[in-house]
Subunit: 469 residues, 2 copies
Amino acid sequence: MNAPTPEHHLLRPIPADMLAALRARFGERCSTAAAVREQHGRGESVYDAAPPEAVVFCESTADVAFLVGLCHQHAVPVIPFGVGSSLEGHLLAVQGGVSADVSRMNHVVQVNAEDLTVTVQAGVTREQVNREIKDLGLFFPIDPGANASLGGMAATRASGTNAVRYGTMRDNVLGLTVVTASGEVIHTGSRAKKSAAGYDLTRLMIGSEGTLGVITEITLKLYPLPEAVSAAICHFPSIDAAVQTTILLIQMGVPIARCELLDGHAIRAVNRHSKLGLREAPMLLMEFHGSAASVQEQAETVQALARDHGGEDFQWAKTPEERTRLWAARHQAYFAALQLRPGCRCQSSDTCVPISRLAESINDSIAEAEASGIPYWIVGHVGDGNFHLSYLMDPNDPQEIAEVERLNVLMVQRALRLGGTCTGEHGIGLHKMGYLLEEAGAGAVAMMRSIKQALDPKNIMNPGKVFAA
Amino acid sequence: MNAPTPEHHLLRPIPADMLAALRARFGERCSTAAAVREQHGRGESVYDAAPPEAVVFCESTADVAFLVGLCHQHAVPVIPFGVGSSLEGHLLAVQGGVSADVSRMNHVVQVNAEDLTVTVQAGVTREQVNREIKDLGLFFPIDPGANASLGGMAATRASGTNAVRYGTMRDNVLGLTVVTASGEVIHTGSRAKKSAAGYDLTRLMIGSEGTLGVITEITLKLYPLPEAVSAAICHFPSIDAAVQTTILLIQMGVPIARCELLDGHAIRAVNRHSKLGLREAPMLLMEFHGSAASVQEQAETVQALARDHGGEDFQWAKTPEERTRLWAARHQAYFAALQLRPGCRCQSSDTCVPISRLAESINDSIAEAEASGIPYWIVGHVGDGNFHLSYLMDPNDPQEIAEVERLNVLMVQRALRLGGTCTGEHGIGLHKMGYLLEEAGAGAVAMMRSIKQALDPKNIMNPGKVFAA
């Protein structure tokens, strides 16, 4: 499937002297091998790869600054690359250029346990940072499905299963080191918990998808590991019953840490992939954090709500291992689902609506999915009003592709009508440029473009993304 | 005391035809009366007023758009005005122009109780919004000392006593209506709890101090009123002991809702002003929110910590009235303190540091204050690492003014050395332009300036603030 942009033929070639300069500095860390380029020119989206002309494996902020400086001088595109788990085509080199791979920038730079902060290089993954701070009794909650890099998570304003309690990357980054479009290194924010000093460049960079600069270091907020953690599953007679339970617990202000919906299809996928024996019916997978007493109290409140909606009794994950197994299965749902239909690609919707409109949003989407006959599955960070209805699509069937896109448009337009957004956590990338315009309006998008033009006048930072040509 | 800018003589007069156009549309709502101009040309800062040439009382977003459109056409400055509680000179018309008074835009536009959101006009104050939603069992937590307008609170990224638990304006605004520098109306964000759609214009506007646009409507996150609320005071043998207690409770992750430090001087002020009989010694004023059991558990944890640091037993505010009286006294501390030294102005510092450095930050500042002999008082949102050491300064004594500024520089530079910020919640305004440069660095400030230039090419939006000339 081609990228939906007229720009994928607007290649801006790397001049010979620039390539020579890259090779002089980076040696074998500058690759033009076809397989490496191919791997860096796609993510987990449905699009065919659009490979960059070269891949540079950066090992430091100075490396990135050197690379971007050269790209700036020669007006060549540069596309930051972490682990390649983007779902919306962010990594495609639609105008050619260089992929700036930061995966080797994988050092935890500084832990300040007593301040609940950590500074990491952009290539550190969420699992790595949690491994490295666990012994200090701390954790970092943001967990998109993939074991993504913190740089990529910041660039796409990622969230995940803990966002209902702990917020998203927007809320959990204190400061950044950024290489600007001219190759300059700047620092945003500080280690203070709050600040009123100047424009919020940190939040401007978070969610900018590599179009305003390359994030090379990130200072994160950490949290003390809760005294008590309990996870439970609860099956419901219908998706609607599970969603109504969720809506009520959010409206009551229950400080639930995780509240994930899985439909029967999603459970079938994780059962097969992770060898679980869960009943293949609508289910909430929940987690409670706090003191022992508070966890028990939360659980009792939610159990009462669930019972009122026909929910079965909670089944508790009795050991930490059992809990980890459940959440690992949840995080692998995407890859598990791909195996339900060999050779398919997954087109995952990502709308998010005000909580009171969640039931309507999901129910109507399901009705459309059922009518289409195309295999689908649902998981949702329903406590946030965010869900993913994902179609398992034959990438060689133009009719099916068109039908999925038609259904996707319906879902997005419904979300916008209900006061929501076209993307809760995946970002705009290539796929949602048109929806952004619809959601934000021409005036707001013009303001975004003005900022882009001011900070990247040569349009070298991940060009062709976020804004339709 | 004059504003610290060379620009206060760079007046850009309102042309006669523009004034005529303003009068034609606004009639008596366009005022050039000296008293009105004087009142709009200052805030609560130490600076003498720099009055605007005219004041327009806007009643709608359309009014603001009309006014800004005219200002744009004639390259005349426009300065948004809410209730005038700015502490850093934001409201001074250092280049002349028009004050856009939004205080009559005081309508709650839409409450969505089931989604925990409310949309208000920019002139609605924090007390008003809380009055209007109280019967729905909801509240909005952000509470700077003054009964500020939500527009001003958004523009300065305000916080207050609840930020330790609920975050700041940065965290509690879902979307904005903004009049841009060309007089266009845009909307940012949505009512969804999270979004990854495009640049975060909401966060860019929050804290931009009127320099990028005029905020006319704000959609806020609301919270269910907690099932149980308890407030307590606890006296300590020293400020250090109170601060050490605070540091530990934050490090342990106790979800305390409010944790305010008052020194003996501050207590003396509120005792006199609010007729309280509190012992005039270092004190924490705390509040706990949650279920009855959780509130009790938090309180027990904090009491144990306090006892370990020589804290006395908690004195509980036994009734809601008593609790309200204590917090009202805390919110009036600023005005109460002004009465300690008749004729004085208050120069309030506003640094914020990582929590582990808070004791050092406060102790060294106190030593400097004691050595100076100038009357001072301290309150602090210490759970955030943010405190205000405020000097009661004779505005007619140049030597005292210079000494206070010298001490302020020491405090800010110490905060920056400790990884903190020059302003936790008051903003840059006129006073901290130099500190911003020191804190953020030339590269980051250049990026802010590029954004300002791109979005306000005629430099009409509150010019002369945030960036030194």
